[in-house]
């Protein structure tokens, strides 16, 4: 399901026009982004938790040049699915 389909499905479900849902979606995502910048996590019940994690710097060997490089530390966004979702997927896969 790509972005277009996602917005279409969302609009259909709510009965809004697509451009309206797009705008609202954008605001929600911006809100999440601000929360991440402040260091807060976003928790959605029965879906999962989005959190910001810090990654330490590390030494890596470039696959192209073979030189040793230093990758700087960074912050990344992580997602932890809620157990109910996890189970659904787990069991769905086993079928």
């Amino acid at each position: 399901m790509n972005n277009k389909e996602f917005v279409a499905e969302l609009s259909r479900k709510l009965g809004y026009k697509q451009d309206r849902t797009q705008k609202l979606l954008l605001n929600v995502l911006n809100g999440m982004g601000d929360s991440f910048m402040d260091g807060n996590i976003v928790q959605v019940p029965n879906f999962g938790t989005f959190e910001v994690r810090k990654k330490m710097e590390r030494v890596m060997v470039s696959p192209t040049t073979g030189q040793r490089m230093l990758v700087p530390p960074k912050m990344v966004l992580g997602f932890k699915p809620h157990p109910s979702l996890k189970d659904k997927i787990k069991n769905g896969g086993e079928e």
Partner: protein, 340 residues
């Protein structure tokens, strides 16, 4: 570290889009419901501005029961993965946005485990200093998260913590720094000494020595020298008056010179410059809207604005008004720069 809920996200919609509370909540819930159903149905959902949710199959693997230590088999199954998209990645990584991966130079090493010389290059010592050197080339901003990181990296890498660098390379750097500082201090004093001893050398042949730092015309002193050299014993008497005569102009001119010290203190350019400020040369009037720098260039030439600035207590960029009076300092070439 706080938590944001669906309620908070809904609140944003109420605020920004004028939805009512119920509608907003319904919307936010719907977002994730649709994502969920999309994950279940299509195994992949892409949301622009957020990221991609994918269902990934994992093979069965052997593992150990953490409590009992028995070997256990984890069945093959599927799991939900999330990869943020580039917009979100950049947003989240903002505090570290100035960093880039850099090439690691030869001789720099990071030990992941505290075991000594585990690498193939046995001749190199494990170095902690390298962190700081390389990081400084990479960083431009935000030292706090970096220093925090350096601490944790350093802690992780070393079993023994020492306040001073324990490596030989670090120690030699420290010695070099100390040596440089000492060298600078010594050099400063040596420089000051040379200023005085150059003059003293000229007067070695005379019995009398001038105490005050001689900045006066050396003509009088030279005559004293000539007379002194002719007959050192007999000429002591005749040189005495000559030297006395010489010391008078010395006394006179040194009256003006101590004043220059206050200008030296005001500006390093004046302190290191080729001239003393010995008084006012003339008072001139500025043209409308010209800067002090421009005026000084007009009357004194290039490179003299520091003297004018300091003498008038104004900066070079001061914009002057029509007819504003500016004092031009009288400048005297410093003794040790005499071209003989």
């Amino acid at each position: 570290m706080g938590k944001l809920s669906v309620q908070d996200l809904a609140g944003i919609l109420v605020e920004k889009n004028g939805l009512d509370k119920e509608e907003a909540k319904r919307f936010v819930v719907a977002i994730f419901d649709v994502i969920q159903s999309g994950i279940e149905t299509d195994k992949l959902v892409k949301v622009k501005g957020l990221g991609t949710f994918k269902v990934v199959d994992v093979d069965a693997r052997e593992s150990v029961n953490v409590n009992t230590g028995d070997r256990v088999l984890i069945d093959s199954h599927s799991k939900v993965t999330f990869t943020p998209d580039s917009t979100m990645k950049e947003l989240v990584n903002k505090p570290f946005s100035g960093f880039e991966t850099v090439v690691l130079n030869e001789g720099v090493e990071f030990e992941d485990t505290p075991t000594p010389k585990s690498s193939a290059n046995a001749s190199e010592d494990p170095e902690k200093e390298s962190d700081e050197v390389v990081e400084q080339t990479a960083t431009e901003e935000e030292h706090d998260p970096v220093t925090e990181e350096k601490m944790t990296v350093a802690d992780a890498e070393e079993t023994v913590e020492t306040p001073l660098p324990s490596s030989s390379w670090g120690r030699s750097i420290l010695l070099l720094a100390v040596g440089l500082c000492v060298g600078f201090v010594l050099g400063y004093f040596v420089g000051k000494m040379n200023f005085f001893t150059a003059v003293d050398a000229q007067q070695e042949t005379t019995a009398l020595k001038v105490d005050k730092p001689a900045a006066a015309d050396t003509l009088a002193q030279d005559t004293a020298l000539v007379e002194g050299n002719a007959d050192s014993v007999q000429a002591v008497a005749p040189t005495a008056p000559a030297v006395v005569a010489a010391s008078e102009p010395v006394a006179k001119s040194t009256e003006a010179e101590p004043d220059y010290k206050k200008y030296d203190d005001m500006d390093a350019r004046v302190r290191l410059g080729a001239y003393y400020i010995v008084g006012t040369d003339q008072i001139v009037e500025a043209r409308d809207g010209e800067t002090l720098a421009h005026l000084s260039r007009r009357y004194l030439g290039e490179g003299m604005s520091c003297y004018v600035e300091v003498y008038n207590g104004m900066s070079a960029k001061t914009v002057l008004t029509e007819g504003q009076q500016v004092k031009l300092p009288k400048l005297k070439l410093r003794k040790y720069l005499k071209k003989k």
